[in-house]
Symmetry: C2
Amino acid sequence: MSDSDVLPPRLSGFERECIDIFVHAAQVLGIPRSVGEIYGLLYASPEPLPMDEVVERLSMSKGSASQGLRWLREVGAVQSTYVTGDRRDHFMAETRLRKLAGGYLREQIEPHLHNAEGRLGRLEGEVAGLPEGGDRKFSSERLQKLRRWHRFARQILPLFLRVANKI
Amino acid sequence: MSDSDVLPPRLSGFERECIDIFVHAAQVLGIPRSVGEIYGLLYASPEPLPMDEVVERLSMSKGSASQGLRWLREVGAVQSTYVTGDRRDHFMAETRLRKLAGGYLREQIEPHLHNAEGRLGRLEGEVAGLPEGGDRKFSSERLQKLRRWHRFARQILPLFLRVANKI
DNA sequence: TAAATCGTTCATTTTTCCTTGAACATTTTG
DNA sequence: CAAAATGTTCAAGGAAAAATGAACGATTTA
């Protein structure tokens, strides 16, 4: 006799579909599947959940749940709350798009944009060291284009957040 | 005696820095490193390059170069051109941001948005099957929020392309 | 038409990333 | 204080993705 005959299903249909959606979203964003699962479960929950329940409902190791929840807290995608008479931390999904996107951009994208500045500086050094001639003009134009792209990214992301704020 | 004593360096400083930039950009976008390398090399090249040269300059296998170039062509990030007196295909980087971003969104993002519609439909089915009560209201609100996000994504991406067109 | 060139495909290897679970620290309960 | 509960860390294992290179087909050249 298998467990499914005696145990209640761990997840409701609604929960399963929410998890499915966020697992796929995580895939698009390059985030681990387990993180998508956790967020999906919390998104489907009217009440905040403690870590044990995440572990149990998702059949996930404590390690993954601990790390996943930490990551989600760091990017501001979940908040931990008190529940009276329970010393465990309880977690709930942050669902304001502005907060979600803002945390992701700050933690995941901003560092890359920052590093890109250093790389553009090095590229500029290379162009400066080039001998005069047709290739130098070409290289300089390519560098300028990269700089425009970088400036564009720096401007468009805050704009994106302002628009997201209205959703 | 090592090769570096007798062979010219395969890549110029300018090329190396361009490649570095696009390798990191690829990482952010979840694209294989080899694809970033190829695009970076082509971006740095005033002339279109045949596949052999990509293989040689990047010390990359023919397989990777072939597949990487195919992918780049599919998303519209490189174009192949004729070079008179040479039967090999020659590749050059597409550098219009609108084209680059458009191809990426069409090939990589759009399929996910399309699939999401199916998932939202299934989620709607789950909500419809829920008994009346507080949880049903909650679930319905969460579903609506997902639908708003989806609509938002569908609207913001074309807008993004219009703005990118001016860069 | 034989040899050389160009490019693709795909099974295999390599690498990278994710998950696991045991060990541990900390706090709480009996 | 001993046992239980809660949560973190990290080495090791496993899974998924990427790179390799040999085999192959197609085309061109001598």
